[in-house]
C-alpha cells in the first residue's frame, strides 16, 4: 500500500514537473507536425524526467557557484581551496551544457517554483541565499566546517537527482551526464568528508 502511494505521488509529481503552472510548453516528445524536429532528435529524444533532471541541476549551480567562489578565496586550507576552485570551473562547464540541452528542447531553464511539486524526487535545492549568507558570515575559524557541511549536502542532492535520471530518464547523452554527476559528486563528498573530519 505504501509502495502504491509512493508511486502515485511520484507519478503526480513527475507529471506536474513537466508542466509548471503558468508555463505553457509544447509536449517535448510530440512536436507538432510540420515544425522542424528539435535539434536533439537524432540523439534519441527525451522524456519529462530528462527535462526535470536538467532543470533541477540548473537550479543547483547558482548557489553552489557562490559557495565555491567564497571557499576558493577564503579557506585557509590549500586542499579545500583547490577542490572548490576545480568544482567551480567544472560546474560552470556543466551548466552551459545543461542550458544548451534545455534550450535545444525549448524547455524552461528553471524548474517549477512550487517546492511541493518536487518533493518526490529530491526536493528543490536545499542551498539558497540563507546558506550562502551563513558561509559569508562564518568566522574564519568556522569557515571550512560551514562550507564543507553545506557543500556535502548540496552535492549529495545532485547524486539524488542523478539517480532519479538514471532510473527514469531516456536521453543517452543526459544519462551519460547523470552518470558523471553521480561519480564526481560521490568522489567529492568522499574527499570533503575526509576534510571535515580531519
Amino acid at each position: 500500500m505504501k509502495r502504491f502511494v509512493l508511486l502515485a505521488v511520484t507519478l503526480a509529481t513527475l507529471a506536474a514537473c513537466d508542466a509548471p503552472p503558468g508555463v505553457t510548453t509544447a509536449p517535448s516528445f510530440a512536436p507538432p507536425s510540420g515544425s522542424p524536429p528539435p535539434a536533439v532528435s537524432e540523439s534519441g529524444g527525451h522524456n519529462p524526467t530528462d527535462v526535470m533532471f536538467l532543470q533541477m541541476m540548473a537550479a543547483q549551480y547558482g548557489p553552489a557557484a557562490e559557495l565555491l567562489k567564497l571557499a576558493a578565496g577564503r579557506s585557509a586550507n590549500t586542499k579545500v581551496r583547490e577542490l572548490a576552485a576545480a568544482m567551480d570551473v567544472t560546474q560552470a562547464d556543466e551548466l552551459a551544457k545543461v542550458q544548451g540541452w534545455l534550450r535545444g528542447w525549448s524547455e524552461p531553464l528553471t524548474p517549477a517554483a512550487d517546492p511541493s511539486l518536487h518533493a518526490g524526487h529530491g526536493g528543490l535545492p536545499a542551498t539558497g541565499p540563507d546558506e550562502v549568507k551563513a558561509l559569508r558570515d562564518a568566522p574564519a575559524a568556522e569557515f571550512d566546517k560551514v562550507f564543507l557541511n553545506l557543500l556535502i549536502g548540496h552535492q549529495h542532492q545532485a547524486v539524488e537527482y542523478a539517480r532519479m535520471e538514471l532510473t527514469a530518464g531516456v536521453n543517452p547523452q543526459v544519462l551519460e551526464f547523470a552518470t558523471r554527476v553521480d561519480q564526481t559528486r560521490t568522489a567529492q563528498v568522499t574527499m570533503m568528508l575526509g576534510m571535515v573530519s580531519g
Partner: protein, 244 residues
C-alpha cells in the same frame, strides 16, 4: 496531454520493474563530524558497508529505535560493533555537525550513550538553519563510547539515525580520528600524491598546472591544479584539461 500522462506511467513501470522502490526523497541528513558510522563508510575508511556508502543521509526509520540503523533490516551493517569503526578522539564537550540534504521541520535532536539520553535539543517544529551543530557534554564518561543521535522530524513519524564512535580522553576536544583499537589491515603510510608527469590520467592523482597526461590515446595539459576524480576525465573537463 494524454501522452504527457502515459510517459510518466511508463517511467513508473520501469521503476517498479527494476526494483527501484527506494525513493530519492528518502535522503536527508547525518552527522559528518566527528564522523558517524555512515560518514566513515561513505569516506571509504570502513570497508564493505554496502549501499550506505552511496546514501549516508538515508538512515530514516520510525521514531524511537535505539539502533544505529533505526531498526529493520536496511543498513544493518551500521549496528555491527565488530566492524573496525574508527573512534574520534574528543574531550568531554563534543560539537556534533550535521549534513542536511533537506531541511525538514524538526521536533527534537536527541543524543544517547547506551540507554541514557545525554542531550535533547527541542526545535519546536522549526526548520533547521543553514548549518546544524550541537555542543554536547559527555557527562564525564571516558574511554571508547558509542553515541546514538536521532533527528526527529516534526510532521512525520520518522527520524534519522546516526551513530558516532568516540574515544573520550581528558585532553581532547577536537574531532581527530584515531585508528580503531585493532587494525586488521594497517594502511600503508600515505605517500605524497604522485605528480605523474606524462603518464596516463588516473583518478586520485594530484595534478599541477602544466602537468601533461594521456587519456584515450590523446595528450592533455592541466590548466588548473586539482586532484583527479572519476568523472573528471580530461575530455569531460575542458576547464581542467587542454588537448595538446
Amino acid at each position: 496531454m494524454r501522452k504527457r500522462i502515459v510517459l510518466p506511467v511508463l517511467s513508473i513501470l520501469t521503476i517498479v520493474m527494476s526494483g527501484m522502490i527506494a525513493n530519492p526523497a528518502s535522503a536527508h541528513g547525518y552527522i559528518s563530524s566527528p564522523p558517524s558510522r555512515q560518514a566513515n563508510c561513505a569516506q571509504g575508511r570502513v570497508a564493505n558497508c554496502g549501499d550506505i556508502v552511496w546514501e549516508p543521509q538515508s538512515v530514516e526509520a520510525p521514531k524511537g529505535s535505539m539502533q544505529c540503523n533505526g531498526g529493520g533490516s536496511r543498513f544493518a551493517v551500521l549496528n555491527d560493533n565488530s566492524k573496525p569503526w574508527p573512534a574520534a578522539s574528543v574531550g568531554n564537550n563534543v560539537t556534533f555537525n550535521w549534513v542536511l540534504t533537506a531541511r525538514h521541520r524538526t521536533s527534537t535532536w536527541e543524543y544517547f550513550v547506551g540507554s541514557t539520553r545525554i542531550a535533547v535539543i527541542n526545535d519546536n517544529g522549526a526548520q533547521p538553519g543553514a548549518t546544524v551543530s550541537h555542543n554536547v557534554s559527555l557527562g564525564g564518561r571516558t574511554g571508547r563510547i558509542l553515541v546514538l543521535a536521532r533527528w526527529n522530524i516534526y510532521d512525520t513519524a520518522m527520524a534519522f539515525y546516526s551513530c558516532v564512535d568516540l574515544q573520550v580522553g581528558s585532553g581532547g576536544g577536537g574531532g581527530t580520528p584515531t585508528p580503531p583499537p585493532t587494525s586488521p589491515s594497517p594502511q600503508p603510510p600515505q605517500s605524497p600524491p604522485p605528480t605523474n608527469p606524462g603518464g596516463t590520467w588516473a583518478a586520485g592523482t594530484a595534478y599541477a598546472v602544466g602537468a601533461t597526461v594521456t587519456y584515450g590515446g590523446l595528450s592533455y595539459r592541466c590548466l588548473q591544479a586539482h586532484t583527479a576524480l572519476a568523472g573528471w576525465e580530461p575530455p569531460n573537463t575542458p576547464a581542467l584539461w587542454q588537448r595538446i
